[in-house]
Amino acid sequence: MPEMPLTGEARLAQMAQAKARRSRREKAIEAVLLLAACVSVFTTVGIVYILLKESFAFFTHVSLWDFLTDTQWTPLFDDAHFGIMVLLSGTLTSSAVALLVAIPLGTIIAIYLSEFAGHKTRETLKPVLELLSGVPTIIYGYFALLFVTPLLQKLFPELPGFNVLSAGLVMGIMIIPYVASLSEDAMRAVPMGLREGSYAMGATRFQTAVRVVVPAAISGIASAYILGISRAVGETMILAVAAGMQPSLTFNPMEPAATITSFVVQVALGDLPHGSVGYQTIFAAGLLLLLLTLAFNMLGYWVRRRYREAY
């Protein structure tokens, strides 16, 4: 006998069952998606956990005071010293050189692209910037060591084969696209009405750019700079290849130096037993690096939020 379609109460019950089934499925799917979204949280938790765990172990051997104030960094010697200042000096010097290149050039390029260049010029030049930022940093390292250093040595014959100057310069060029494109975005967001007001007063392009557009976009530009700083501090390979990995407390870019980042590479290239103080050292250094870059990232974010012009 063929099944009769259900009616009335029975039909309602059937529909309720279908709904419950569908809703269970949808909820399960949502849970899976949520889990995927949480991977980023797990990553952060993982990073914080591992850095803290190993750093705590580290600081049972080395006092925080020594870590912050010792002027030598020789963690792998018998008479080991753990003064992080040494590595910080390398990081600071290399970042300073890089930013001295990236910030002025990046800003000039941003102003040029945003206020001066015609549409065609802009469309031709922007891919160049993207290219610059697309080159793997190891290749920039190769370039710094085998092209820039010999070139600089023609100018400064006493320049050693490993030096912070070459690495810093190349790092700066690598960071230009970040500074330029974020600054340009900030400037393009300034409404045309403001520019028209300036032009209507008889101002030239340069006057409008510098007196009206840049001040209006200053929060975005400042946060672009801060992000550039963060990028410079976190860069590894260019320094590992071209700056030498010799830890020394110096602010002279014409010498080799080790940074926090290149130190980790140096240790990783060697053979450090898991659990040794040497092994834990890189996590302590890494923790400091993370704190530094996080501080800069948050500063950049805060600057952009706080000083944003409401258009």
């Binding site: 009405g193 403001l194 007001g197 032009y199 209507a200 007063m201 008889g202």
Partner: protein, 263 residues
């Protein structure tokens, strides 16, 4: 064909356009517009949206130069020298130093009130602090804003209310002693009280400068202007004394627009 009724004893001429065409790319937005602008008088441009009144206004200070693909054909002569403002040999910047503009949406710079008003002077390389202070005060008085802001000249211009911001923009336009001020729907973004204040201001300003004002508010044109031009689809339909235009228009199109039959 435009119906132009010139006054019997015309006041001195400040500027006039002669057969002005304007093209946005291939689109002809203005068709042979010829019109006078008299000195120390307020001339209003009215018409439905898209009729070309703002386009016409922006020819006077070469605003269209900022965007690619635009073309002027014809002349706008500026007196007393009779120079054609639209000629390629004439520098747009020089034109803008003689003709100022107030925009529809108030656009004060992200600077202090003082610096906003002083901007035009700074662009002209004025550095003397006392000179700037005098001119800023004079301009703010001229814009009926001085009493409200005299104690807070260092505050940001954007902190002012909408109506105050627009008066700030007027002061900015005034500070450089322009010959003509162009007003592009200056009160359409403002509330009625602020609107009234600006209209009163325009009445006073015309003693010092010549004014060309675009407005979509007919009653405003009737209140504020001495001469009115009605435009439609890029053409000047009728021009004449404001009273005549509003009470006995000569063209049917003008009458239809004014009585609200369309637009």
């Amino acid at each position: 064909m435009s119906t132009i009724t010139l006054p019997e004893n015309p006041p001195p001429l400040k500027a006039q356009s002669k057969n002005l065409d304007f093209y946005y790319g291939d689109f002809k937005a203005l068709k042979s517009v010829s019109m006078p602008v008299y000195e120390h008088k307020v001339t209003a441009l009215i018409g439905p949206s898209g009729c070309g009144k703002s386009t016409y206004l922006r020819c006077y200070n070469r605003m269209h130069d900022l965007y690619p693909g635009n073309r002027y054909v014809g002349e706008i002569s500026l007196m007393p020298d009779g120079v054609n403002v639209l000629a390629p040999q004439v520098d747009a910047i020089e034109v803008r130093m003689r003709i100022s503009m107030v925009f529809q949406k108030p656009n004060p710079f992200p600077k202090s009130i003082f610096e906003n008003v002083a901007y035009g002077l700074r662009v002209r390389n004025e550095r003397s602090r006392s000179f700037l202070e005098d001119r800023v005060e004079a301009a703010l008085r001229g814009a009926a804003l001085w009493e409200e802001v005299r104690d807070r000249l260092d505050e940001a211009g954007s902190n002012l209310s909408g109506g105050q911001q627009q008066r700030l923009c007027i002061a900015r336009a005034l500070a450089t002693d322009p010959e003509i001020i162009l007003f592009d729907e200056p009160t359409s973004a403002l509330d009625p009280i602020a609107t009234g204040a600006i209209e009163e201001l325009i009445g006073e300003l015309k003693q010092k400068v010549s004014i060309l004002i675009v407005t979509h508010n007919m009653q405003q044109a009737a209140r504020v202007s001495d001469y009115t031009a009605y435009m439609y689809l890029g053409e000047l339909i009728e021009y004449g004394d404001t009273k005549d235009i509003f009470m006995k228009p000569k063209r049917k199109e003008t009458e239809d627009y004014i009585t609200g039959r369309f637009g």
